[in-house]
């Protein structure tokens, strides 16, 4: 028991002392996962909206793909993205292997189906009559989509939170395409794995607190945003 308590206090000490490496790791984590979430928002929301409203042959096939994609294992994504970015891979000439950029791409692949899927189900919860009504009132396509987005904004924010939570927590893809390179592509989850392997449990514990703190803070901000909008 006492080693847990000891670890906890060592963790606090480490944080309060302002360890330079811990801060740089935390900052990179926020950058990579924040950017991946943003891109997945730009890709996933339109995809979800489109799939929710449109009717075309083979739509179920895509819906199944999106829903299955919500549970994509990060390790699998990491492997596939790595295959593309290896020097011999089709995109090897870009030289992106073991870079933060590759991590953003992998995390975007992980988060996009989640954002799309949650957007999709949020739109589908709207009454179908609403869509007809908007159209009957003579809305232009642009106005139509804007109104739909406004209607499902709570769902979209939930999708953002879920996507961010998923990518900041994943370790497999970041390890595979980022390589956990010190001062360069090391994020909180990969450094936790490393420190556990090194037997530095207190440092691992400290990093886990930083991770939880960041995840909570970002999610809290988004929640405030979501709830305020609901009240008006």
């Amino acid at each position: 028991m006492d080693f847990i308590v000891k670890g906890f206090f060592q963790a606090l000490q480490l944080l309060l002392r302002g360890d330079k490496e811990v801060y740089s790791i935390a900052f990179l984590t926020l950058k990579v996962s924040g950017l991946a979430t943003l891109i997945s928002l730009l890709l996933g929301v339109p995809l979800g909206l489109y799939l929710a409203v449109s009717r075309f042959r083979g739509r179920e096939f895509f819906l199944g793909g999106v829903n299955a994609g919500m549970g994509l294992p990060p390790t699998v994504v990491g492997l596939w993205v790595a295959l593309f970015f290896w020097r011999r891979g089709p995109l090897g000439f870009l030289g992106l292997m073991y870079t933060p950029t590759a991590m953003v791409i992998a995390q975007t692949v992980i988060a996009t189906p989640l954002v799309a899927g949650l957007t999709l189900s949020a739109v589908q919860q709207l009454s179908p009559k609403l869509r007809l009504q908007i159209l009957a009132l003579g809305a232009s396509p642009l106005q139509f989509w804007w109104l739909i987005i406004k209607e499902v904004r709570l769902g979209i924010l939930a999708a953002v939170m879920a996507g961010f939570g998923r990518v900041i927590a994943e370790v497999g893809a970041s390890m595979a395409v980022g390589g956990n390179v010190r001062w360069y592509s090391r994020v909180l989850t990969t450094s936790i794995v490393l420190e556990v392997n090194r037997g530095n449990f207190s440092l691992a514990l400290a990093l886990s607190f930083v991770l939880l703190f960041i995840t909570y803070s970002v999610t809290y901000l988004l929640t405030v945003l979501q709830q305020r909008r609901r009240q008006t």
Partner: protein, 284 residues
Amino acid sequence: MKRKKLFSLFLLVLLTITLTACGGEPAAEDGDTAEPEIKDLILSTTTSTQDSGLLDELIPIFEEETGYLVKTIAVGTGKALEMASLGEADVLLVHAPDAEKEVEAAGDVINRQLVMHNDFVLVGPAEDPQGLRGLTTAQEAFTALFENETGFVTRGDDSGTDKMEKGIWADLGLEPEGAWYIDAGSGMADTLKIASEKGAYTLTDRGTYLALKDTLDLDILFEGDEILLNIYHVMQVNPEKFANINAEGGQAFVKFMVAKETQDIIGEFGVDRFGSPLFFPDAK
């Protein structure tokens, strides 16, 4: 209006993140040395060199001296050699001499040089139910461990340690299998933890064991046989065989690892923490 403000704020935060992330170059300190042509150097190595902290000590010195950005990818030796055979790394630091020779013979790596060694030890519960203490050869020790009651945890990850262990069983003509032979499929640290929790035996490199000793209920029960030497070599991936290899960087790293100053640092590494070095320098 308030929510609009809040929403704008949210967008602003995202934008800031985007912009800062786009300037993704690390803030590396500029040395006096001329910038190398290709900056990235992928070092494929075994987990023990990273987990022990040795590379954290050596890499910054090398980067400072040469201006390269070393991307250390710590994997099992098997995977590290595979990366060399695929041309996905520039330089290797690994510890499975027999497997290395094969890769060298295939022409995938060149300029292979001896760097350092430590040794493998057999660890297990302090009570030592199989009576390893006092045995003189690794063969005897492994024979005593075959089909034992308390179990033996194997890495099972095709690492240098794994290759060493499997090689000894094979030399003895034994085929370890069954409930007593626990396949961890993990790195050294995890394997040690599993052995500790289960009260089982395992084969480990001394460095990783010493680094984790305080967190484990495991004692060294057998050591000192010559065949348990754990020998590390550094080598370049053959730039003539694969495209995009950072040949100059690889050569510089090999040179750095066998240089006297580096060898001195290796010999001193770990003395302050463990009272004895974790690796013994071997380059002439």
